[in-house]
Amino acid sequence: MASVVADNIVDFELPMVPLDLTKRRRIHWGRGLILWLAAAYFIIPIYAALKFSLQDISGKFSLSPITAIPSQPGLAAAFFLSMRLAFVTLAIVLFLMVPTMIYVHMKMPRFRRFMEVVTILPIVIPPIVLILGVLEAAPLWLKSSPYLLSLVYVVLAMPFVYRSLDSGLGALDVKTLVEAARSLGSGWISTIWRVLVPNLRSALLSATVLTLALVLGEFTMASLDLWETLPVWIVDFDQTNAHISTAVAMLSLLGTWALLTLIVSIDRSNSRRRRRNRAS
């Protein structure tokens, strides 16, 4: 075979358009603008509210709103109520979902689809509507306890918990692990506790943090069920000094924020680890 021959040139017109550099630069500029505008919209309120929280009534910088927090009437009670509700919700939802999902992953994989659909339902029945039905349907003895809220919060938390556990379990080969453990003589409870749960640590952590964030921030149902949880307190509190309530709101915000950032970074370091393991 001959090598390339210059005399093989057919009169072929290739329009020699050089790379359009000017267009590229224009697009970069537009993109930067969008990013800066977005950053402004999201960051300015945070900065402003933080600043507001650190001002006394006259508008000067002061730590007084923060230092005044512990002495506000009802705040401690509200905070602890929220915490109690959070932990009860957490206990119920984990106790309900973990064994169920392990079982489904092992023995009823097709049921996962149903569960997925079910956990989308809370979007169709949002808290404001749900509380309407709950308050009507719940028996009086239940309504007189704040823990009715916990019971309902479990339903709200289900989508998040389901998603976390589903991806955590999906990454393991549950069936094989369980069969291996049982062939070595481990009973059911011991298998769940010693084999599965440790491998689900980050999924469980995600689920926990999301549930806590949800309960600590839930206002709709708590206020309409007439219980003074933390968010309800923030709204109800007589605001002669708006700076204090804003300070509490910002603390609550930053706390939730820290928790959520925690999960998102755990989640990402996990998917990075999973990708590395798969690649090797």
Binding site: M1, A2, S3, V4, V5, A6, N8, I9, V10, F12, L14, P15, M16, V17, P18, L19, D20
Partner: protein, 367 residues
């Protein structure tokens, strides 16, 4: 009829584009950070020729293809098609058809629309587009799947549509970036033949990137073996196999064993006999050398006081490959399977070189 087709229609009339263009890749250099993907890479492709770029992953073969396609700009060097320098021409104007490794079909279009897309861009009338798309789908044997969407097609079918799509614009050059790697073995073998047959019929200049030497050797007119951004050897498959120019090629193409040898006045000492050296070895004067042997170039004979011991056997069909330990190394020897029973594990054998000369290279130092 060139390709399998489930219909019994007469051979479709796709005119040979006949415009296979000569291609020259000239001294390409491309650096990504610390790695030199292309390190002075040059290659010429004659009109209508099918050249395979073969090499291990990371050798730069895909980069070379993408430079030709226009998706990468080389740091230095140039690309010429039909004698003209197209280095500054953007990819969309280079008039080359490309088949990607996988999943390159537009998911929102049927097979027919995918194939017709290039024509749509060139503003051809709908009737013309449909007709031509139909012809091409017929050519690749997928006429009855024309209305299907990519997610409804198997991997092999998708790649056939991708091929039809690339050919629809009657390109001067056809580029294939490991198109068969993502498919399973049986489909791969079928498609290999179909692609080659199609290419020959249409006489399109083709560059085919692969890491699979079987593919390269069976399909190409010439194979360019690449390593670390450079061309190690460009030759016809048979030449590449029989006369590897470098140790890399000898070990990458086909199977070979490495045996340390000592130099003699005009040759080397191998298996107790003198063997002639292939090619020019001025560059190796003074250093220790190894011989590279193909299994079919070594013969084994049972001998009670033989120097070698059979320590491995693999049944390969017509031949059986023995692993013979001799002098601290293991040499692969092919024997006819009908004789294989003589060579049980542990049998002592004598080895002899059955080819005229032997390829030598610098001794590999233990890492």
């Amino acid at each position: 009829m060139i390709l399998e087709s489930h219909t019994t229609q007469p051979t479709p009339t796709v005119e040979a584009s006949g415009s296979g263009a000569p291609v020259l890749l000239n001294d390409l250099v491309r650096q990504f950070g610390a790695t030199r993907a292309l390190d002075g890479f040059s290659l010429t492709i004659a009109p209508g020729e099918f050249v395979a770029l073969l090499g291990p992953s990371g050798c730069g073969k895909t980069t070379a293809l993408r430079v030709l396609a226009g998706f990468e700009q080389p740091d230095s060097g140039s690309v010429h098609v039909h004698g003209r320098d197209v280095s500054g021409v953007p990819a969309q104007r280079r008039d080359m058809g490309m088949v990607f490794q996988s999943y390159s079909l537009f998911p929102n279009m049927s097979a027919r629309d995918n194939v017709a897309f290039g024509l749509q861009l060139r503003r051809q009338r709908t009737s013309v587009r449909r007709a031509r798309a139909g012809e091409l789908l017929e050519l690749v044997g997928l006429s009855e799947h024309a209305s299907k969407y990519p997610h409804q097609l198997s991997g092999g079918q998708q790649q056939r549509v991708a091929l039809a799509r690339a050919l629809a614009i009657e390109p001067q050059v056809l580029l294939l970036d490991e198109p068969l790697s993502a498919l399973d073995a049986k489909v791969r073998a079928e498609l290999r033949d179909q692609i080659r047959a199609l290419q020959q019929r249409l006489a399109i200049t083709t560059l085919f990137v692969t890491h699979d030497q079987e593919e390269a050797l069976s399909m190409a007119d010439r194979v360019c073996v690449m390593s670390r951004g450079r061309a190690e050897q460009v030759a016809e498959p048979s030449v590449l196999y029989a006369k590897p120019a470098t140790a890399f090629v000898a070990e990458f193409v086909g199977v070979s064993s490495r045996v340390p040898v000592t130099r003699l006045k005009d040759g080397v000492q191998l298996f107790g006999a003198r063997a002639k050296i292939r090619g020019d070895v001025e560059s190796l004067a003074g250093s220790d050398i190894d011989a590279l042997l193909r299994p079919e170039d070594v013969s084994a004979k049972v001998a009670n006081n033989g120097l070698g011991i059979v320590n491995h056997r693999s049944f390969l069909g017509a031949t059986t490959r023995l692993g013979v330990g001799v002098g601290g190394v293991s040499v692969k020897v092919d024997v006819r399977s009908s004789d294989a029973e003589l060579f049980e594990l542990g049998t002592r054998v004598d080895l002899a070189l059955s080819s005229r000369d032997v390829l030598v290279t610098e001794r590999k130092k233990d890492a």
